[in-house]
Symmetry: C2
Subunit: 438 residues, 2 copies
């Protein structure tokens, strides 16, 4: 027999956990669809040259090789597993540009792979759940607001605890830093340093700005002061005014974020001037979502606006805005902290018991009535003592057990939680009632 063990970094869920994960996926997907996002899926495999085109770190990429090649087989172009969904999506839009309608709103739920060294807590295979809106030439700020509304609804609906969506705008940071006299290189470096605030603290940021960027104390204190601004959407305008900045980019960013807040939900949203996000890529709105009880966990959903989705694949200006939920990481947080009930190993609502194999055909017919009324129903596959059948339902978390009286065809149903029993005269009514409880 082969030895069986977990491979570090490749998470695997038990059925009761996977049921919860599928439930989360269904809820998120249903919300995204309700906003008109359409599903896109790309192969897990891309040409390695496609993935490397953005200058990513090669050592995080898994390359594929056929375990055994035919002796006279020529080398194939190198294939590799995608490490995120952004590069494949950009390649997809570039490749299928003429077959797509814009604005394009897509959701994409797929696994991605990172060639990390095996180490505790690092996933090498995990789910990402992305949405983006892409337009030709110009993308209205209404799209940023739609992204913000959608993720606000997702985290409200998942009901896994209090959350906060931090919002900022890169133009505000750019304008502010430029008005302090920073050149482009310094501005980019400053954004990368400020992005580390949660990890290295205010003092750490000060040290790096002083030692690495050689900024003056006066400028550093102004940068630090700005990072202290964390206010509700209602207070955003006043907070920005307090900075006394009249730089064009700053004012443009202010206009964008005020319009964004006008169109999006207000609660759970915070205007956070310390939010920087490391990537060069972003040009306007930026978002991060944290679970309030677990700040050390970092962001569970991040993203923002960019001006050029697919420049490396097509000669078109395609601005976009989007966010990505790190679903596997989120599920890890959920399971480790019991943020969702994990109590069933089966989607079955009703188990029909069988006391005599001669009556199984009738049991199958009855089960089919319940199924057609959208109540998942299974039939015990053998006919041991009823106690054993009820035990099976109990062990899988199946809430109801049905008993057919074959002398008159009546059905008695027992609620295993309350121990209540009732004879069901109208199956459709019972199903309606139960579906709303489940």
């Amino acid at each position: 027999m082969s030895k069986v063990k977990n491979i570090s970094g490749f998470p695997e869920l038990l059925p009761e956990q996977r049921l919860v994960e599928e439930g989360f996926i269904d809820k998120i997907r249903s919300i995204y669809r309700s906003y008109g996002f359409t599903p896109i899926e790309t192969p897990a495999v891309e040409l390695k040259s496609t993935l490397s085109s953005k200058g990513v770190i090669d050592k995080e990429i898994y390359v594929l090789r056929r375990a055994l090649k035919d002796p006279n087989e020529k080398d194939d172009e190198e294939l590799a597993l995608h490490f995120d969904l952004t590069v494949p999506f950009a390649r997809y839009v570039g490749q299928h540009y003429n077959e797509l309608q814009f604005p394009l709103k897509r959701y994409q739920l797929q696994k991605v792979w990172r060639g990390e060294r095996p180490q505790k807590g690092r996933f090498r295979e995990f789910y990402q759940f992305d949405i983006d809106i892409i337009a030709r030439e110009t993308l209205p700020i209404a799209c940023d607001a739609e992204i913000l509304s959608a993720i606000h609804k997702v985290f409200t609906t998942l009901s896994i605890g209090d959350f906060q969506i931090k919002v900022n705008n890169r133009k505000i940071l750019t304008g502010l830093y430029e008005s302090l006299g920073l050149n482009e290189e310094q501005r980019k470096a400053t954004i990368i340093v400020v992005d580390k605030l949660d990890k290295i603290g205010t003092e750490g940021v000060e040290v790096e700005l002083r030692n690495q960027l050689k900024l003056s104390d006066d400028i550093i204190s102004k940068i630090i002061a700005a990072t202290k601004i964390r206010v509700s959407p209602h207070e955003c305008s006043q907070a920005l005014d307090s900075l006394n900045c009249s730089h064009e980019q700053f004012l443009l960013g202010k206009e964008e974020i005020l319009r964004l807040f006008e169109l999006a939900p207000k609660d759970k949203i915070v205007f956070d001037l310390s939010l920087a996000r490391g990537l060069d890529y972003y040009t306007g709105s930026i978002f991060e979502t944290v679970m309030t009880q677990y700040p050390e966990f970092g962001s569970v959903c991040s993203g923002g606006r960019y001006e050029d989705l697919a420049g490396q694949f097509i000669n078109k200006k395609l601005p976009g805005v989007g966010v990505s939920i790190g679903l596997s990481r989120l599920m890890d947080l959920v399971f480790k902290n019991n943020l969702a009930p994990v109590r069933r190993t089966s989607p079955t609502t009703l188990l029909i018991t069988v006391i005599d194999e001669a009556q199984r055909v009738k049991c199958c017919e009855v089960a089919e009535i319940f199924r057609n009324l959208h109540v998942p129903t299974e039939i015990y596959p053998a006919s041991p003592k009823l106690g054993k059948q009820i035990e099976y339902a109990d062990s899988k978390g199946i809430p109801f057990v049905g008993f057919i009286d074959h002398s008159n065809g009546s059905i008695k149903i027992k609620d295993l939680a309350t121990k209540d029993e009732e004879t069901v005269h109208d199956i459709a009514t019972w199903c309606d009632r139960i579906r709303n409880v489940q």
Copy 2:
């Protein structure tokens, strides 16, 4: 810019196709859940030694390698992409045996990868959708019937044309061949030859049985005669009697298949004694599903019963029965032959138009009412002429367009197919009506 091209064997769908594929997945999954199958997912990656444990052809396996390793990094145990869902499921059951409840009913939809040489029509990445029921020690025939009922319901519900599920039982073949005097090696070889009937025809089978297996003309004619038996479930008993076989295995197989037919649907099912299936693995019921209009396409859903799921991973007897739908292949058939309508690039039902940005907040509020009533609704992100907004809806296949009269808050909705317009006074009633049409 990078060159963008398709990689042969890695299919990629346009949004309108992926919407159809997701619709198929939702329907199949919903049916499997209605029978109480629970979701299981394994990582795409296994130890190569796990995948090779069944003696598969190594050259079909894709092995992973980090594109760039740290200089002093030790070699990791070799990782590879799974090539089917059966081996990973067996490993899963072996590994988590003590945490699972039996009988275990699981569905599993995942991509699998085959390291084929690039060639037309061969997928190197594709979806499989499997269900299985696994028991400890003994598995009642009622489980075979449940598998048969479930796939019957799947192909009925998908409505992609007439289908036929071919059913046979390995014990019948074994008993029949043994009663003709064939030893174990000959029986296995005969099953492999008979399995090729569709490809090489009756004469081809005769030639191979004569030349390779050295069987006598009398035995060959009896084997061939049996392959002609293809009857409805009702005629199965009589057809088997006509073979005058009293071998113990034959009679056991007959008992099993008659009970199976008693518990399962009767239409679209055929008892087909020519059905052999190549794999050694099967020990009882075997199934294959063909789309009647496309016999040359072969089976779209196959499986059967086996006595030993996970013997290479755990010292337990775990009999099971299951089938696998080759989902990507099925979608290929569907798209190439227009078996399902592909007409929308968006899940949106209603587009709310915007004629003045000052009214966008109100439009967002109205859209949210529709969404909360489960009608996917989007808002045009800018405010160009109405004609352009309607054109957008038309191009994406969005069926309804809404116009808000901001002077009195009333909503007029136009059906783009019929060109009918109506003023909607009761949004909930309108949504109920529309949901049932969509």
